[in-house]
């Protein structure tokens, strides 16, 4: 059902950069590539954040990520999709999640991308721990 490299799923402890993401979904039949990067912000509800930690239920996270990729390929004319989430400790400005997908035409691109990130935030078992500047840290549950 899926061509070589049509779906690429990764959990990684090393920094995510955007260029390889877009390049990894290149396809001669694709006229549009869209990508989403989530980056660590310096505040959360007005409270200064120093850094974040992400933990995952790895095997299930990868299986839920794959489901999202398969769904967007079934529902829209997505050619290729790459979905990467960072784990471990992240500094401000670092990329926590990267999603890129390629399609023949742009019209479906935005709905497919929005579905991917919205669904990711509901179903993929990954949790964020926020380390505030004031020294406290909390697990965030729900987004």
């Amino acid at each position: 059902m899926t061509a070589d490299n049509a779906i690429q799923i990764e959990l990684t402890k090393t920094p995510i950069t955007s260029d390889p993401l877009a390049a990894r979904v290149a396809d001669s039949g694709a006229g549009a590539t869209v990508s989403f990067l989530g980056t660590v912000r310096d505040e959360h509800h007005g409270r200064a954040v120093d850094r974040l930690e992400y933990d995952a239920y790895g095997s299930m996270a990868q299986s839920e990520m794959r489901k999202i990729a398969e769904t967007i390929r079934e529902r829209w004319s997505v050619k290729r999709v790459v979905m990467v989430h960072r784990l471990g400790m992240l500094e401000i400005g670092e990329v926590s999640i990267g999603i890129a997908l390629s399609l023949p035409h742009r019209v479906e691109a935005f709905d497919a991308l929005r579905y991917a990130i919205d669904t990711f935030k509901e179903t993929v078992p990954i949790w964020k721990r926020e380390y505030f500047r004031d020294g406290e840290s909390i697990w965030v549950e729900g987004s």
Binding site: G38, M60, H85, S96, I97, I126, W127, W139, G142, S143
Partner: protein, 81 residues
């Protein structure tokens, strides 16, 4: 049936461990699992109520029967992305 239940995020901190063992009597449903964890580990009860249960990496409803040897996990509301 003995089950090792995986914990994550705040539940892991509350339990002070990566998992808890429960002895599940018949019927071995997700509902029964929830009740057993809550009574054996009261500290987990509030977080557990807000969590989903995954069996072999699939979210399962309360009436689902847990097969022997399954990998079971409590999944608090996720916050990745």
């Amino acid at each position: 049936m003995k089950i090792e239940v995986l914990l994550f995020a705040s539940l892991r901190d509350r339990a002070g461990s990566l998992s808890v063992a429960v002895d599940l009597s018949s019927p071995q449903t997700v509902a029964a699992l929830r009740e057993t964890i809550a009574s054996d580990h009261p500290a987990l009860a509030p977080g557990l109520a807000a969590s989903r249960i995954a069996v072999d990496s699939e979210f399962r409803d309360d009436d689902y029967t847990i097969p022997a040897g399954a990998e079971v996990a409590v999944i608090p509301p996720v916050s990745g992305g």
